[in-house]
Amino acid sequence: MTILADMTAARADTTDWIDCGTLDELPLRGARVIRHQGGSIALFRPADGPPAAIANACPHRGGPLADGLVHGRAVTCPLHGRVFSLDDGRAAAPDRDCVARYPVAVTAEGRVLVRLRPLSPAAPAGAGLIAEAAE
């Protein structure tokens, strides 16, 4: 499964897209941390579906979500067990918290890109992915 990035959209603002290496360099059912000035982002590679990026801090007590257990397209916070969807950033019911999501793209060469700007909370689930480009 490869997702082609819409590189025209990416090129429009290349400053915020971070090259995070190849998909194979991400631990399967695990994550890597992207550290930036304002904090950190957890970049996940679930077994099923494309990679996903969310803020690396549980809104409850700041738990590093990148260290959580990944099941399906969800992660359990390693500190106190809140479960977040990697696709929409929402906590599993009955919790109503959420974490910021970041757009992720996989280029035709298989490199994983993450954009530093969070998606709007109103953006639909899956909006983090850049759909296949028309070359």
Binding site: T15, G21, R29, Q37, G38, P59, L69, T76, P78
Partner: protein
């Protein structure tokens, strides 16, 4: 068909308009034909929760006030994204931007307010926004970038909430405020200063007594910073104006209604046109306009009664309380803060970061300011609203409500009586900070009937579980019966991913060939493809135990502690414990540890309760190097993170102690050498005491040995944890060889029989001490078979996990660092 029901049209789907509709349908269901129209393209939402949405802590959906189900059930028509453009009072209809014409019998204006935009030079630049609605939040997110500077003009409630939201998204925020301290309308200088300190700790800088002069352009029409009157320039990629609001009266004015600062209303919220009412931030009543939610809800209640034709009191100004909605920063303020005839009582506890001030006038509480511990705020507020003379209460007032525990209710058990006597704000769950009122409210509102449901909804008792008894007692109190009996289910389901219990699963897995936990889920008909954080580690363990030689272990099915062989701490760093056999160490080891502490800048070194050295605060990316260096000094992982053998605690025994009867240190080392590396259902601790003085505290360990003159007393099932439990005596033997064989048999029986995450204490209480004795003491053949299986398993388990990962650390340990500023063209 002509309907005789009043057609009520509410303009404005904000908090006032929405609350009015809710109150009206509750008061007179079906009596009116209600249409709610809002200019924003969203369903009504809780505007005071915008800051958590901005911070990414809540979704837009989580703050919705009305759902479709509510609208359907009550036949309320809701029109979103359409603005009313004109009112024809004579014909009683309104027209909208999209060309709708809506007739009404009664019209309600709930048009709210507009945020004030300062007329500074540069105010029209891109990147200058107000903080008022979800649209603003989206704009701020689109323009904001983690690490980038932002400036918020306005250090009032709204400004600080905007600042907290942006800081939550990783921006570097500066709040610019005209007055001498933040929230000066609600707080005195003291509390304002404490608040500024708390904000500084979250990376929010406050600049007070600051006049803004101009907003600077970056040359492309975007904001670059804010220039202050004293010449200082604060850089900003985003500038938020949160300096106040102005009632939105345009529509009312155009329709010829009487308008002052806001739309003028009487105490029934009627405007100068008897068919038109108004409420919320758009109105002016008795010379006052409104910005807080409490009076606006009072207005909704009064107006709903008026519209439903019910009698009742009119709207009156009442004191209001303010809380800052920034998580982790608690500020409470109510009433008036000063005045010539006011007396003040203050209580300041710097150590707890808590401050409170009471303002008393005419022997009545007139105002309260609280910072830090604000739990008593509602009680002070009630005291203030009652406005009764304080009298003798005055002396103790500052300490808050005193809880006189009433006599225990007849028939109730002690626990229930104790819980019943607690105040609503008494903390029940210490791990998650959940108080009694939160739990009882959730039980009532959500109809909760079991401990698990309370855990799920409130988090109370969801962590360590030590408050389970209190929570159950609360359930009993709320449900009007005794606490629900613990389900005597023989083998409850592991989690919601399956209907199978632990015992059933492990029986099946023993029959199946070796496979991974995720493969096993498919075979066993799991409801989720990859399980959850409860069942996957359990399956992983059961497979490992059943097939020790097959190498089925899956790190991704383990909790982070076991995945990275270190303990995760509250700040996301890790702690590392090297193994010290029987608690022994040497100068060389200590020297190596000291060097590693220096080399990796490890902040804390601590001796653990199990006589080992804990290196705390190790950064994840340093873990492989720390392990490598410890390995190089001859040390291996102490498994302090493991559901497995932790430590064997010892005393100095006959070698040094004048009372020692046997070589307890030597026996401890032997036991640790044989058993280290074994994965178990839960953590497992041992101790060997050299005499009955029991200096190694063997009687609170999973397996304890107490040396006596004639041999060794073996004890099991102790636990120094949440539920303190002394050991049960297992047997007495005369040789070390017997100690070791029984120890190995006991461990293996525990490994094969207990449920994952069940420590020996509850396991023995569940299956009975007699059964344990029968298997590992009385039945010689069974004991020897268990010990043999344990040793066979150990042949595959005794590998130092540090060595294998330190040799080739995975990508998980390497963070991707983003340069300070991505190369901008």
């Amino acid at each position: 068909m002509h309907t005789t029901r009043d057609r009520i049209l509410v303009i404005g789907a904000g908090m006032a308009g929405t609350r009015l509709v809710q109150d009206l349908v509750a008061l007179a269901p079906g009596a009116c034909d209600i249409t709610l129209i809002g200019a924003e393209p969203h369903a009504p939402y809780d505007r005071i929760m915008l800051s958590p949405v901005l911070a990414g802590e809540k979704t837009a959906e989580a703050i919705r006030l009305l759902d479709d189900d509510f609208l359907d059930r009550h036949g309320v028509t809701f029109l979103a994204g359409d603005a009313v453009t004109g009112i024809d009072r004579a014909a009683r209809h309104v027209t909208t931007a999209t060309g709708r014409r809506l007739d009404y019998d009664r019209l309600v204006l709930a048009t709210g307010s507009q945020p004030i935009r300062l007329p500074l030079p540069g105010a029209a630049l891109s990147g200058v926004v107000t903080f008022r609605d979800l649209g603003n939040v989206d704009t701020m997110l689109a323009l904001g970038r983690p690490g980038a500077p932002a400036v918020v003009i306005g250090g009032g409630l709204l400004g600080l909430e905007a600042a907290a939201g942006l800081a939550g998204r990783g921006m570097k925020v500066t709040v610019v405020h005209l007055a001498g301290h933040v929230m000066e309308r609600q707080l005195d200088a003291e509390a304002g200063g404490m608040l500024a300190d708390a904000l500084a700790a979250r990376g929010i800088t406050t600049v007070t007594t600051a006049n803004s002069r101009a907003i600077l352009d970056d040359g492309t029409g975007r904001v670059a910073g804010l220039e202050l009157a004293d010449g200082r320039v604060l850089p900003a990629e985003l500038l938020v104006m949160a300096v106040g609001i102005r009632p939105e009266t345009g529509l009312a004015r155009a329709a010829g209604l009487e308008v002052g600062r806001g739309i003028l209303v009487d105490d029934r919220l009627t405007t100068s046109d008897p068919a038109i009412a108004a409420l919320g931030e758009c109105v002016e009543f008795d010379g006052q306009c409104f910005g807080l939610v409490a009076p606006l809800y009072d207005q909704a209640k009064v107006l709903a009664r008026a519209l439903a034709g019910r009698p009742g009191d009119g709207f009156a100004l009442r004191p209001t309380a303010t809380r800052l909605k920034v998580s982790g920063v608690d500020v409470f303020s109510a009433g008036s803060l000063g005045g010539a005839d006011a007396e003040e009582i203050t209580l300041r506890d710097a150590a707890r970061g808590s401050y409170r001030k009471l303002v008393i006038r005419d022997d009545r509480l007139a105002g309260v300011v609280m910072y830090g511990d604000v739990a008593d705020g509602p009680w002070f507020f009630e005291t203030m609203r009652r406005a009764e003379p304080l009298g003798a209460l005055r002396d103790r007032l500052i300490f808050g409500p005193s809880f006189a525990a009433g006599p225990s209710a007849t028939g109730a058990d002690a626990a229930t009586a104790a819980v019943a006597a607690l105040a609503d704000d008494a903390e029940i769950c210490g791990c998650n900070g959940v108080c009694k009122g939160t739990i009882t409210a959730a039980i009532a509102a959500q109809g909760l009937t079991s401990l698990d449901e309370v855990r799920a909804h409130t988090k109370a008792s969801a962590s360590c579980g030590s408050c389970s008894g209190q929570v159950k007692a609360l359930l009993g109190l709320c449900l009007g019966g005794a606490a629900p009996a613990e389900a005597e289910d023989a083998d409850p389901a592991i989690c919601t991913c399956t209907d199978l219990g632990h015992d059933a699963v492990r029986a099946r897995l023993g029959e199946l060939p070796a496979m991974t936990a995720i493969e096993a889920m498919a075979v066993l008909g799991w409801k989720t493809p990859e399980g959850c954080s409860k069942c996957r580690p359990a399956l992983n363990y059961y497979l490992l135990c059943a097939h020790p030689a097959a190498g089925v272990d899956d790190p991704a099915s383990r909790f982070v502690n076991e995945r990275v062989h270190a303990n995760i701490q509250k700040d996301g760093t890790f702690s590392v414990v090297p193994r010290m056999w029987g608690g022994l160490t040497s100068a060389a080891e200590l020297r190596a540890i000291a060097d590693i502490v220096d080399r990796y800048d490890i902040p804390t070194v601590k001796v653990t309760g199990g006589q080992r050295i804990d290196l705390l605060g190790v950064r994840k990316q340093d873990l492989p190097a720390v392990w490598r260096d410890l390995n190089a000094a001859g040390m291996v992982s102490g498994h302090a993170y493991a559901k497995g053998l932790r430590t064997v605690k010892t005393c100095v025994g006959s070698e040094w102690c004048r009372f020692g009867t046997q070589d307890s240190t030597g026996l401890g080392v032997k036991l640790e050498r044989i058993t280290w590396g074994a994965w178990m259902p839960h953590k497992f601790k041992m101790a060997v005491s050299g005499c009955p003085r029991n200096c190694a505290e063997a009687t609170i360990k999973d397996f304890g040995v107490i040396c006596v003159d004639s041999g060794y007393e073996l004890v099991v099932g102790g636990n120094g944890g949440i539920h303190l439990r002394g050991t049960d005596p297992l047997t007495k033997v005369s040789t070390e060889a017997e100690v070791i064989e029984i120890c190995l048999a006991f461990i293996q029986f525990y490994r094969e029989d207990a449920r994952y995450l069940e420590r020996t204490a509850p396991w023995i209480e569940r299956i009975g001490l007699d059964r344990v004795k029968a298997v590992v003491v009385t039945d010689t053949a069974a004991r020897q078979a268990l010990a043999a299986r344990f040793l066979a398993s150990q042949a595959h388990a005794q590998n130092d996990p540090w060595a294998s990962i330190a040799a080739a650390p995975g990508a998980e340990f390497a963070a991707i660092d983003v340069p300070a500023r991505q190369a901008a063209e």
